[in-house]
Subunit: 166 residues, 2 copies
């Protein structure tokens, strides 16, 4: 962590990727960060299993998440390290972190502190809409799974720019 | 679908992205594909809630998934459309498709046909290892959540190249 000098800039925290067998069947953490330095992270609620959000981590964010037990991401829209809940209070406490076969994706199982919400629009999960389609339709439509917001974003974020990019 | 002439090349299947309000609070499907033409997809088992895999879809793959009810992805390692289970028989039947707030990620809830497996290494889920770390460790280690493989990859894939890239 930044405040104890053990930040994610110490690359020895992760192992080098030596062989496919090591990456797929080994016991060392050798994550693959993409050409932008990021690994994809899916975050689910540890109790309900629902997908709360999908985010990205750089080396620093993944290291801080492991060391602190609180979810850290890389904000692609703001281009900065993002301690989830730092502004909103919606801290995600890590229950478990899994890594996938080729170690280019992370699955974070969390519980929520404060309001039970993870979405900047005000819903519990970012995935608050479902896709509907049948053969009589020319295009799919969306319906809302969550019927109400957990919080009012304008009260929490004020005039901060909306991270959604068209 | 390709065989009825309604393939994903018909861009009118998706709506244009007009405003943040439409994207976040609207009822039209207006997905954001990245600079490589891809949208990220997390796939969970509809009954257990476990994360089975994390993949990517282009317009064609997302359209085919919606229209056919079977998961299609874009294989980044093979650079081609990938009907999941086309080779292995591990078809993923779609129960629900959700989209996230800014519509740049998809959550696919599926059931599995045939062997109950989704991972090319032979495990049920691609996320078969968990990350362990405590302050006494210099680096994290991995332990296996799944203790045995569901199938033998060499029997299913033969000499096909392993999709894992170092």
């Amino acid at each position: 962590m930044a405040d104890d000098g053990q930040s994610g800039t110490d690359r020895s925290f992760f192992s080098d990727r030596i062989s496919i067998e090591q990456v797929e069947e080994g016991h060392t953490l050798a994550p693959k960060f993409d050409s932008s330095g990021l690994i994809t992270c899916v975050t689910t609620h540890a109790d309900s299993g629902e997908v709360l959000m999908l985010g990205y981590m750089n080396e620093d964010a993944l290291t801080r998440t492991i060391e602190s037990g609180e979810a850290h991401y890389w904000s692609r829209s703001r281009q900065q390290l993002w301690h989830k809940g730092g502004t909103s209070g919606h801290i995600q406490t890590v229950v478990e972190i899994r890594i996938d076969d080729d170690q280019d994706a992370v699955w974070l199982r969390v519980r929520l502190r404060g309001r039970q919400a993870s979405c900047h629009v005000g819903y519990r999960s970012c995935f608050y809409r479902t896709i509907n389609w049948n053969k009589a339709q020319s295009a799919p439509t969306l319906s809302f799974i969550e019927t109400g917001k957990v919080f009012d974003p304008s009260e929490i974020y004020g005039d901060a720019p909306n991270p959604t990019i068209l």
